[in-house]
Symmetry: C2
DNA sequence: TATTGTTATACTCTATAACTATA
DNA sequence: TATAGTTATAGAGTATAACAATA
């Protein structure tokens, strides 16, 4: 077996590089962690949502969401209010500063995304997107079965 | 921007799932870390090599290689001997137990790899492999430039 | 009794650099 | 002065579960 051709290895190396390239934007320029950034993106254009909704949109668990929200709140980007329908829950929403930050970051990360994919033809892009979905479905099956 | 369609996000989620599915084999059944497994694979069929060669084959840094080698040596899978050509370096090689373990793991992870990719046609596989190379090259450019 | 969200804790990983020995 | 490899240390990320409040 050649490590260089082993798909899980190739994918892990690729994902790490892409993650580094993308994180340079939100981490180094705006001091957000990956989880902060994901929660910010999940809250954008959403009005008020509950922490559980953020969880469903991000593949983060409730603890990661809770901590990211606490950091974003401390940074003045997010506000939490009691949920009138459920005393255990919170209604979370982006503050204007959060929306402004999000709108500042989006074009920067999208420019990086475009650059990352710029060597691919439209057909290749389509195959890639489909492959990601198919392989992920299989991976989840394996992980579930053990 | 939709997080669900943002390529770096999709890739990160995919890579995490694939990594979990693959690690179940070497971690849960054989108690190897990801770095251990990579070093084991890099040493297989190589005879004696230096730690620096392992580093070049794995994208691990010298510290990760050093620690993985120490664990593999403690587990009786790897032997280190002084390098006659360079007193600072080591010659590392798999012991029979290491080779045996490697040969036991390979078909298991390859079966998982096959299963992960089993929904893709040969053409799609080819596009995927090419896309991984192209995107990784771009990602490295971005990371280097900052 | 179950669920929402927070807190605690321990563990693993990662990043940086200091350090030893040799070149 | 540079290189091979080891060790130290701190920070970040991850996983598990206990917990308070409410349903």
């Amino acid at each position: 077996m050649e490590l260089e051709k082993f798909f899980p290895y190739r994918l892990a190396v690729l994902a790490e590089q892409v993650s580094l390239a993308t994180a340079q934007v939100y981490r180094e320029r705006f001091s957000l962690s990956r989880d902060d950034w994901r929660v910010l993106a999940a809250l954008a254009d959403q009005g008020e949502v509950r922490a559980a909704d953020v969880k469903d949109r991000t593949t983060l668990d409730k603890m990661q969401v809770s901590r990211a929200l606490a950091r974003l709140e401390a940074a003045g980007l997010v506000a939490r209010a009691a949920d009138p329908d459920d005393g255990r829950a919170w209604r979370v929403r982006l503050l204007p500063a959060g929306t402004a930050l999000y709108r500042k970051i989006v074009p920067m990360v999208q420019a990086r995304e475009d650059y990352l994919l710029s060597d691919l033809t439209p057909q290749e892009l389509e195959v890639l997107a489909g492959a990601i979905d198919k392989v992920e479905a299989r991976a989840r099956q394996l992980t579930r079965q053990g």
